[in-house]
Structure formats: structure tokens, C-alpha cells
Symmetry: C2
Subunit: 258 residues, 2 copies
């Protein structure tokens, strides 16, 4: 069943009105008819099955048939702090990161950033990127629509730790903490901001600054990952840790205790 994200203000318990670009998709692309059903999410965790009651080229109305309780969200909120990459890699990172459960994306520029975004270019990019996230969220059955924050400088990023329960920086030369050691300290509803460098990675100075600012340097394993692969590694590992292991090792440890 096709899923659409609507503005939380338009979400209701009984009748839901859809406006904007989704109308075109429902009416002209899907060619939906009265009586057909769609899924409508408010992007903040609520999803309903909705029967279409009225379709026009301006708006679509529907009646809520059932409020769904979906469990498609990671129990921890992971924000990918992404050093802006070249070319179309950011699109890939947003699409795949959304599929893999990212809570939000926070792009930044740092010492080795190559790409330059002026204000006009940035606004256009952000619009395009938000569209990519929305489509990926609909396709992958997300109940939460990941947020894309406006890009900041690395210095600005260093002021963020107070907003999160956990902060980390991916660093290939780090042979101290592993991602596993970090994720093991997290519990449901915790939030993690994890920084991934641009193509050239981070300088040692940047890592030292981040560490002093409360970011834990973590290793993403023995192979060198490209900047557009790192976030997928992190999110897959988090899914494995928090969504796959329920009957896994923590249970095993408990069983040993009995």
C-alpha cells in the first residue's frame, strides 16, 4: 500500500486532507480512485490506513479506517553528521540512510571539504535532498520522516553535544573504541550524533578538537570505508544491535546468570 507523509497539522483521527505534490502523485501517477486505501503518516511516528473519499487536482480527502501501530523505527535516534561530499554522493547517503533508519542528517563543512555551497545553491540542494528523504521514507515504510538540518561549520558542530545523549566521531586511525563499545552503552530513546568526514576524512587536529568537545572517536572496522559508505555501516550495525539481537547475546548473558 502506498504511503504518504503529511504535515502533522493535516493529520487527524477521522478525516485527513492531503495537499501539495502528493495530490499529483495520488491522482495522476497512482491513478487512485474513491474507495481505494493508502497509508498516511505524520512523519512523527503516527500512521493510519485511510480510505480515499474525494479526489480532485487540488486536494485529496480520506477517512481514517485504522490507526496502525508500526515498529519500523530504530529504538535509538541516530543523527548522521555528514561531511559534505562531492557530486551526487549526498543523495545516496540520504536515500540509504533513510532506508536504514537514520533519525536525522546534519551536514557540515570541515578542513578537507571540497564542495562549495553558496546560499542559493544550498537552498536548492536542501529542497532536493528533503524530497529524496521523503521518497525513501515512504518507500521503506518509515513512520518517522528524517529531518535534514541546514549545513554548519565543523566549529559549529562542536557545540552540539549538549543536544544528544551520545556523540562520536568516526576515525579510521582510531584503535581504541569500537562502534560496538559505543552502541553497547546506549539504551532505548538515547540519541547519538556521529560525525563522518568528507572524502579526505578528518585531520588529527579536528579529531582532537572533537574529542575535547565530548565526541568519542570510534573505529568502523579494519577496512577503509568511503565517506558515502560509513553511515550505512553505522546504521546497519545499530539495527543489528537494537533490532536483531533481542533474542541474542543479552539474553544469552541473562541465561548464564540464571
Amino acid at each position: 500500500m502506498q504511503r504518504y507523509f503529511v504535515d502533522p497539522d493535516l493529520f487527524a483521527d477521522d478525516e485527513i486532507t492531503i495537499t501539495g505534490e502528493d495530490v499529483h502523485h495520488i491522482v495522476n501517477v497512482m491513478r487512485a480512485k474513491e474507495g481505494e486505501q493508502i497509508l498516511v503518516s505524520d512523519g512523527a511516528g503516527r500512521t493510519s490506513r485511510v480510505r480515499l473519499t474525494q479526489l480532485s487536482s487540488k486536494e485529496v480527502k480520506g477517512q481514517v479506517v485504522e490507526a496502525l501501530s508500526e515498529q519500523t523505527e530504530l529504538p535509538v535516534r541516530i543523527t548522521i553528521g555528514q561531511g559534505l561530499p562531492k557530486g551526487e554522493k549526498m543523495e545516496w547517503i540520504l536515500q540509504k540512510g533513510t532506508e536504514l533508519g537514520a533519525y536525522s542528517f546534519f551536514p557540515f563543512t570541515s578542513e578537507r571539504t571540497i564542495v562549495k555551497l553558496d546560499a542559493k545553491k544550498e537552498a536548492k540542494k536542501l529542497e532536493r535532498w528533503r524530497k529524496i528523504i521523503k521518497e525513501a521514507a515512504e518507500q521503506s515504510h518509515r513512520a518517522v520522516l528524517p529531518q535534514l538540518l541546514a549545513p554548519v561549520s565543523f566549529r559549529e558542530m562542536l557545540k552540539q553535544p549538549a543536544q544528544y545523549t551520545h556523540c562520536a566521531i568516526a576515525y579510521e586511525k582510531e584503535d581504541g573504541a569500537t562502534l560496538h563499545q559505543l552502541l553497547e552503552t546506549m539504551k532505548a530513546d538515547d540519541s547519538l550524533l556521529i560525525l563522518v568526514g568528507p572524502e579526505g576524512g578528518f585531520s588529527a587536529e579536528e579529531v582532537a578538537l572533537a574529542q575535547a568537545g565530548g565526541f568519542l572517536p570510534v573505529s568502523l572496522g579494519p577496512r577503509i570505508l568511503r565517506t558515502e559508505t560509513a553511515s550505512q555501516y553505522i546504521l546497519s550495525a545499530a539495527s543489528y544491535q537494537f533490532e536483531q539481537k533481542r533474542s541474542g547475546c543479552s539474553d544469552a548473558a541473562e541465561r548464564k546468570e540464571e
Copy 2:
């Protein structure tokens, strides 16, 4: 330091000769000079640091300075059985899968495969895909060069289980086994063939056939992953399980036992 894969026959303990396309890369792209050092791997696990002694447009010779013992390979050998996807997605799957530690790639066609490869197209594609794997392996510091097997039909794929210690099929509707339950049963040197469907996934009949043939249906978590994301989820999870957890949950279980 730049890394090159050479034919195992050209790999030696003392002097190494490089021929073919890498000569162009070393001489014209990297503009390397006598006395500079490179890394040379045989693609089967051996890597040496080599000092260049002789450079021409036809071949490059070097003296082995040191045989390295690298640990950049997953302790389990994972073969990604990939339903052939449309467009350039296969290139992405091979590049990312190589970075993330795949041992080999085994493309196949199935009920919902859209792409058609005739013999001529296939040979050209395979050549291009092998080049992508080689470059990704060099860039990500792999010691083993992942193999790309020739595409087969789904029926042919069902005959493969005898070649592997573990076989699985990724199935979104599966709420039985998790990937974690599968990986927990694997130990070092085990081999896994895991099938990922093309864009439309597998039919229920295909999953039943595979299951009857010894493939365990496994779930890749609560979100719907695109075909080009599934292998990255699997390989990241395997890295997390086998490369990150050394001081993790199995130790915790042991500690509880004491």
C-alpha cells in the same frame, strides 16, 4: 600508500614484476619514481611493501621490503548472491560490497528479474564489474580480491548449497530467523551464500524452493531495504558481529559464567 593487486603467479618473496593496466597507473597517473614504495597484494591474502627499482611503459619492477601481516579480511567468507538489478545499481553493490568485506559476488536471474543480458553484453559487463571490484579492493585495503562469478539462473543457484557451510535467502516477509540468529551460528572460516532478490524481491514460491534446498530465510530488520542496500546491511552486520564484538557480548557471557 597505493596498493596494487597482481596475478598470484607474479607475486614473489623478493622481486615483483607488474604488467598490464597497473603499469599505466603507476607510471603515468601516480608518476612514481625509482625508490618510491607501493603495496602489492596477490589477491589471496598476501601483501608486501615493495620499493620500485625499474619503471618503463611496459612493466614495473620492485624489490620486496617487507611482507605485511594485515587483518583486513572478515573471518567468515560471505558470498553475495545478487538478483541482477536494473541500471548501474550492480556497480554500486560491487563497489560497496568490496569495501565492506564481501568474499565473492554471485549474480543470478529470477522470476522478477527485469534486466536482460545477452552473451556479448554479459562479457562486457563482467569485465567492467571486475575492474570496479579491483579498484574498490585497492582503495579499501583489502588483502583478498573478491571474485565475481558468472551469472546463473535461480534454479542453478539452488544447486550451490554443497559449496558453502551456510546458505540463506533474504526475505522481507520472514518473521522467523533474524540475520543475528544466522550469524551467531557461524565461526571463523565458515562460508555463507546469501541470496538478495532483484527490485521486485522473491516470489513466495522461490523462497519455498530455496528453503527446501537448504537456504534459511532471514529477515534484514523491520524496514524495507532496496535491493542495492541489502548486501550492505548484511556485510556491515557481519563486520559488527565478527570484527567489532571481540570484547563484547561473548566476553560478557563468559564473565557471567565465572
